[in-house]
Symmetry: D2
Subunit: 426 residues, 4 copies
Amino acid sequence: MSTVTSQPEMDMDIFNTLESNVRSYSRSFPAVFKKAKGYKLWDVNDKEYIDFFAGAGALNYGHNNEKLKQSLIKYLEQDEITHSLDMATVARGTFLRRFHDIILKPRQLEYKVMFPGPTGTNTVESALKIARKVTGRNTVISFTNAFHGMTIGSLSVTGNEAKRSGAGIPLSNTVFMPYENAVENVSSIKMIEHFLENRSSGLDLPAAMILETVQGEGGINAASDQWLQNIASICRRFGILLIVDDVQAGCGRTGTFFSFEPARIKPDIICLSKSIGGYGLPMALTLIKPEYDIWEPGEHNGTFRGNNLAFVAASEALDYWKTDDFSKGIQTKAAEMTHFIQKIIEEYPELKAEKRGRGLMQGVACAKDEISEKICGEAFKRGLLMETSGPKGEVFKFLPPLTIDEEGMTKGLNIIDESIQAALKQ
Amino acid sequence: MSTVTSQPEMDMDIFNTLESNVRSYSRSFPAVFKKAKGYKLWDVNDKEYIDFFAGAGALNYGHNNEKLKQSLIKYLEQDEITHSLDMATVARGTFLRRFHDIILKPRQLEYKVMFPGPTGTNTVESALKIARKVTGRNTVISFTNAFHGMTIGSLSVTGNEAKRSGAGIPLSNTVFMPYENAVENVSSIKMIEHFLENRSSGLDLPAAMILETVQGEGGINAASDQWLQNIASICRRFGILLIVDDVQAGCGRTGTFFSFEPARIKPDIICLSKSIGGYGLPMALTLIKPEYDIWEPGEHNGTFRGNNLAFVAASEALDYWKTDDFSKGIQTKAAEMTHFIQKIIEEYPELKAEKRGRGLMQGVACAKDEISEKICGEAFKRGLLMETSGPKGEVFKFLPPLTIDEEGMTKGLNIIDESIQAALKQ
Amino acid sequence: MSTVTSQPEMDMDIFNTLESNVRSYSRSFPAVFKKAKGYKLWDVNDKEYIDFFAGAGALNYGHNNEKLKQSLIKYLEQDEITHSLDMATVARGTFLRRFHDIILKPRQLEYKVMFPGPTGTNTVESALKIARKVTGRNTVISFTNAFHGMTIGSLSVTGNEAKRSGAGIPLSNTVFMPYENAVENVSSIKMIEHFLENRSSGLDLPAAMILETVQGEGGINAASDQWLQNIASICRRFGILLIVDDVQAGCGRTGTFFSFEPARIKPDIICLSKSIGGYGLPMALTLIKPEYDIWEPGEHNGTFRGNNLAFVAASEALDYWKTDDFSKGIQTKAAEMTHFIQKIIEEYPELKAEKRGRGLMQGVACAKDEISEKICGEAFKRGLLMETSGPKGEVFKFLPPLTIDEEGMTKGLNIIDESIQAALKQ
Amino acid sequence: MSTVTSQPEMDMDIFNTLESNVRSYSRSFPAVFKKAKGYKLWDVNDKEYIDFFAGAGALNYGHNNEKLKQSLIKYLEQDEITHSLDMATVARGTFLRRFHDIILKPRQLEYKVMFPGPTGTNTVESALKIARKVTGRNTVISFTNAFHGMTIGSLSVTGNEAKRSGAGIPLSNTVFMPYENAVENVSSIKMIEHFLENRSSGLDLPAAMILETVQGEGGINAASDQWLQNIASICRRFGILLIVDDVQAGCGRTGTFFSFEPARIKPDIICLSKSIGGYGLPMALTLIKPEYDIWEPGEHNGTFRGNNLAFVAASEALDYWKTDDFSKGIQTKAAEMTHFIQKIIEEYPELKAEKRGRGLMQGVACAKDEISEKICGEAFKRGLLMETSGPKGEVFKFLPPLTIDEEGMTKGLNIIDESIQAALKQ
C-alpha cells in the first residue's frame, strides 16, 4: 500500500514545525491541498478553490490535464526512461522535434534548444552566461521591477530589494534602466540611448539586455510593441544581445505562444520554463540563435536536465498550438477579463485603481494602501486563489489556467467582485 | 493515442541538429535510450546497458523502481496535487513527517527543512545565502576540486576552470583551500588554521565552509573522518558555518544516509538533491539548524519547490531507511567493489592506478594519460555506462544504483576488466 | 654644483625613449618646459606660453607664487620638518588652525580634517570608504560624465569608458545616474527619486552620492543651485551621505572657496586637492562632518600624508581668503570670460557652440567634429596652453590661474580668437 | 613675514580637536615636531629624537639632506617648473636620464618609466592595471602579511584585516598564498604550483603575482633568494607577470638599490616610491618591461605626476649610487645591527625573540605579548622613534636613515637596549 496515502490526517502544524521559515504561499493560502483538476483545487477538508493563480504561471494547461496525465501514466507503466541528464532519449528527441515543428518553424524562428536545468533561474543563468561568453563583456542591463530568479546570477538582474538583500553579497555586473513608463515623464528609451551613446556615462558596453515583456512579479507591467521594437533596435545597433525572459509570460499566457510575437521581434536568447513542462513538472529551455550557440560541451550542466516525465507532458501539451484555436480562445477570455477590470475600476473609485497587463495575465493596481492584500485574503476565504504583485504588493493579479471555461471565469470574477466589497468594508 | 509514442524512429541526428552544442552525455554515450529498469537501460535498438553511472548519483534506488512507480501512478490517477510551489499539500506534509521520523530523529539530528527549488545548485545557492545572512559576512571557503553547481553562486565555489570560465564574469567572495591530501606534504588543516588565525593573511573571516565529504566530480576524493572532524572543530572555533554538500554523496551513496555519519559531525547546513527524489525526479532540500533558520518568508523562492511527484517517490523511498539492512547491503557491495579495484590495480600496473572513494562511490585514478577515457569508451561498447571524473578525467568511477544485485555487479565489473584490457591494447 | 642644472640640453627624445606610453600632456603640449611664473611658462628654447590650463586646476594661485615661494625657501633653509606621515608638526598644525579660522569658521562649516594621502584620488577613496563604513552599505551613486580618479575605488565612480577599461576588472558597487540636463527631457531628479522610492528598482539603498558641482573632465557641466539643493534634500531624506568632490572646482575656481557655497548646501564629506597645496605641491584633504568621523586610528593611511612643504604653501595661500577681495576679483574676470565666450559663439556660428561652466572654469562646447582639438592645437602654436574636455573632447576649456591679470586675460582670449579662425580655415 | 612662523605656540590639542580620528602616528609619537636633520628630529620643546623610523622608509637619505636641499632651494629661486602633470620638463627629463644611466643601465635592466601619481598606492594600482590589461585576466596573487596600500585596488592585495575592513566592500579579484615560511611545514612554492597546475583548484589563471621581497608592515619577513627565484620561475612558466613592490624595501634599504638584486631576478613590473623622491617628497615610479608597456596615452593619469621638486631631489640623490660605496656602507651598518639583535635575543630570553629582515630593514619578533609595543613606548620616552610591525604588532623594527653614522647607530641601539630592560620590568 502506498506510503503516501496511508498517512494520518494532516494540518498546517507539520509545516509550521518542520519546514523552514522561508515558506511563503502556505502562509497566504493556509490550507493543506490534496486534489486538483483543471481550474479547481480541493483541500483536505474537501473545500473547493477556483485557481486564479495557476502555480504562478506554471499551470497554463490546468491542473492534472487529463490528456497529459494519460501520457504520463502510460510512460511510467512502460518503464520508459525517467531520468537521463542530457543523454539522448526518445522522450527528449520527441519533444525537440515537436517543439521545432509546431512552435519554431511556423513562426520562422531559428533557435538551438538548450536544456539548462529544470527551473526558471537555471535558464536565466544560462542565458546570462552565454551572452557574456559571446560578447566578452560583463555588464547586463536589466529593468526596474524585473524578476528573473533567486540564484546569484539571476538575482543580480532582479529588482526587488527584499529578494536582493537575501544574497548576502553585493550583486554586481548589472545596471538597471527604467522599464517603459516606470518613471513619469522619463523616456526609458532616451535614457538607455544616452547611456549607450555617451561613452562617459559610466555604463560599460553591456553584453545583454534582459527583460520580461510583461513583468509578472513586478506589477503586471506590459511593455508596448513599440517599446520592445525600440529596445530590439538599440540592441542591434550596439551589438548587445537581447534576452527575453518568457518564463511567466510565455507558453501562451498573453495569447500567443511567445509573448513577443505581436511585437514581431526576434530575441537573441529566449528563456522558457513554468508552463513549458505542461503538467507543472520542472522543466526549462534556453533558446539560442544558432550563431550564438558557442557553448563548449558540458560548459553548463545539471543533474535534472533530463526530466523525461516533463518532456512527455510538454510534447503532449504542444498539441494545443497546432492550430490557432487555443490562441483565439485565450484572447476571448482576456477580453472578458479586461471588461471586468474596467467595470470594477469604475464601480469602486475608492480603490484608485488602474488596469495592468494583457492576455490572461492581467491585474489591478490600487493606490489605496494594502487593499490588494486584503482583497486576496477575502478571495481566499471565498474559495479563490489569487495573489498580489508589484513592489508594494499593490496589484492583485488574475492568472487563471488558460484552459479555464466560461463557468470558471464567471465564478472567479464574481468572487473577486464580492471580495473587493468585503475588503473595502474592513 | 499518446503523441510521444506515435513519433517516427529516432536517431542521434535530431539532437545534433536541434539541440545546443552544450550537450555532453549524448556525446559520451551516443545512443538513444528508450527504457530502463533497476540497473539496466535499453536503447531504441534494444541494446542493453548496465548502469554504473546511475544518473550521476540521482538514481540510487535504480531506474523506475517498481514500488515507487506504483505510488506515482496511483497519485496521478487520483488527481492529487502535482504542482504547488510551497503551498501545503498532503504529499509535502507526508514527506516532511517521514523525513523527520525516519531520517532525522533516529540520528538525533535537528534541522528545519527548506525546499529551495528542485536542483542541486538551488540548494547550494540557498545554503550560501542563509550562511551569509546569519553571519553578515561575504567570504565562503571552498576546496580544490570542489563541484557545487553551475549558477553563479554555486559556480563561485566550484573549482573546475572550464566550468568557471563559462561564467563570463570574475567569480568572487570565495576562497579556495586545499582539500585533504590535495597537495603533497601540505597539511590542509594547518593552512586553514594559519589563514584564520593570522589576521593579516588576506582571508576575511568567512561566513561558511562548504565541502563534499567525497568529491564526486573532483576525482572521487574521500575525506577522512579525522579531517572532517578537524574542519568542523575549526568552524566552531571561528564561528564559521559548516555546509556539507551531500548532493552526490548523500542518500546512502557511501553506505549511510548522510555521508558524514561515520565522522559523527553535525553540519550547520546540509544540501541534498539527486537521489532524494527517489525516482530521479527533480527535488532538493536544504537542511538548516533551527537557530540559523532566520529566513524572511519568501526571501528565497522558486516555481518548482513543490514537485509533488518527487515528494511521493521520495517519501516511498525512505522505506529503505527504516532498518539497517539497506545500509549493510551497500557496505557489502562496496567491499566487493574495493576488492575488485585492488585486484585490477595489481593486475594492470601499467595503469599507474590508485583506489579512490568509499561506499558505492569508488573509482580508479590512473596516472597513465587518457586511459580512463578510453576504458569508459570500451565499456560503453560492451554495454556499460560509466564516466570519468577528476580535473583531467583521470579517474574512472563506479556509481551503480545502490539496489544493484550480485549478478549486475559481477557483470559490470567483468565488463570493466575487459575494457581495461582493450583500452591498454589500443 | 646642482646635478639638475649641469645636464646637457634636452629635447622630447628623452621622454619618447625612456618614459611609458601612458604619457599624455607631453603629446598635446610637445615642448620641454623649464621655467614658469604667474600665468606664464617658458620652454627650453625660451618660448613663452600663457597658461589657460593651470595644471588642470592645481595652480589657482599661479606658478611659483612669490609669497608662497619665499615661505617655502625659508622653511627649507631652517630645516623644518619636510616629511612626517601623520605625525604632528608645526606646519601641519598651522595649516589646521588657519584652515579652520579662515575657511571653515566664517562659513559656519564644521568638519574634521583628514589628510588622506596627497592626491585627488586618495581623498575620493577615503571619502567612499568612510561613507560605506558609516552606513554599512556598498553602493555609491555617481553621475554621467563624472571624473573622480584612477585608482580602483575612484575609477569605479568615474564615467569615462577609456579610463574605466584600464581597470582590467569589472568596476562594481556603483550606480550611475544622469547629471543635471545630461539627457534631454529627462529629469535627473525624478529618475533618482524613482529609483530610491521604488524598492524594486534594482538600486540597493546607497551609502553615498558623489558629485562635482562643475564637471571638469566631463565637459565643464555646471549644476544649478536648485539641482544641488534637490540632491542634498534627497540625500537627507534617504539617509544617504553627500560627497562633493571639489578637487577641481574648489579652492576658488568658481569664485567662492567651495564651489557649493552659492547653493547653500553642506555636504557630509568634501574632497579637496589640486590647488589646496597652493604651489602645485601634492596635497589633499577629506573634510568629514564630525558625527561621521568614525575612523579607527590608522584605518586609512599613506606615506605622504605629511608633505609639509605643501602645508607651508597651503597655509600661506589661505591669506587670499581673509577678505572678499579675491573672490570678487575672480567673479569680475569670470564675467569677462563669459562675455568673450558669448561673443565668439555669435561670431562663429559654424562652431555650433554653447557656453559651459561658471567662474574661471568655463568652456565652449562645439558640435562641429574635432574642432575643439584643432583650436587647442592652434592655440599651442600661438603660445597658449589650453585643453579639451568632455566625452569626445568637444569642449575647449579656459582654466587660467585665478591670479591672472587683465593683460594676461586679454592676451589669452585674443590668441583663442585667432586660433578659432585658424582652426576653422583648416 | 611668513605666516607659518608667526603662529602662536602649538601643542597636541590642535590635532586632537581639528583632525580626524584616523590620525595614528601622532598618537604613537605624541609630540609636535619642528625641525629635523639627518637622523635627528626636534620637537617644539627642543627635545631631540634619534630616528629609527625614517618616515616609514621614505627618508633613506636622512632628513633635509643638505646637498638635496641646496638643489631644491636653487630650483625654487630660479622659478623653474614646480607642477607639470606629465608635461615634459627639464627636471623630469633630467631624472629620467640619470635614473637610466645610474640605476638601470649598469644593472642591465630595461624598463619604461611610468609616473603613476606620487604615492605608493598609485604605483601599485597602476601595476595591477597594466598587468591585467597585458594578460586579459582578473585575478592577482598576493601573499599573507602583504601590505601594498589603501586605495581599493591596492587594498585588495593587502592582507591586514583591520585595513581591509575599512574598504566597506568585499575586496575581490585577488587570491592570497602563503609567503615563504608563513605556515610551518607548508611549502609555499608547492602550494602555488598545485593551485596553478591543478585546473580544478578554483584558482583562475592569474594576471600577476605581487610581492615584497621583505614585508615591511607584515613583520619584516625577508624572502630568501631561492624562494624569489622559484616564484619568478613559476611566473615565467605560467605566463604570469611578476610585480615586485619595492616601495619600502627598494632605494637601498636592504643594501642594494633594488631589493631583488641579490636574487638576480628581473621582475616584469617594479613599484618604487617612498625614498625615490630623496627628500621625503611625494613621488612614485612604475617600471614596466618595454614589451608590456601597452598603455594608451592617458589611460592612467593624475594631477601630481609632475612633482618637479621631487624630481630635483630624486636626481640629486641618485649620486649616492654612482659607485659601490654607499651600498657597502649600508651592509656594514646592517651587520652591526644584526649583531646587536643577536645579542639582545640571547640576553633577553624572556622576549622569546627571533631576528627578522635584512639590510637596514631588520626587526625583532617577540612571542611575549605586547612587549614590542612597550619597548617602542619606552624608546620614545628616551628620545628614539621606532615602530612595531606584524599582524599583532609583535615586531619592533629598526629603519634608520641609510646615512646614519656610527654615533647615531650606537646611540640608537643603546636606547633600544635600555628600553627593552624598562619594558620587561613593567
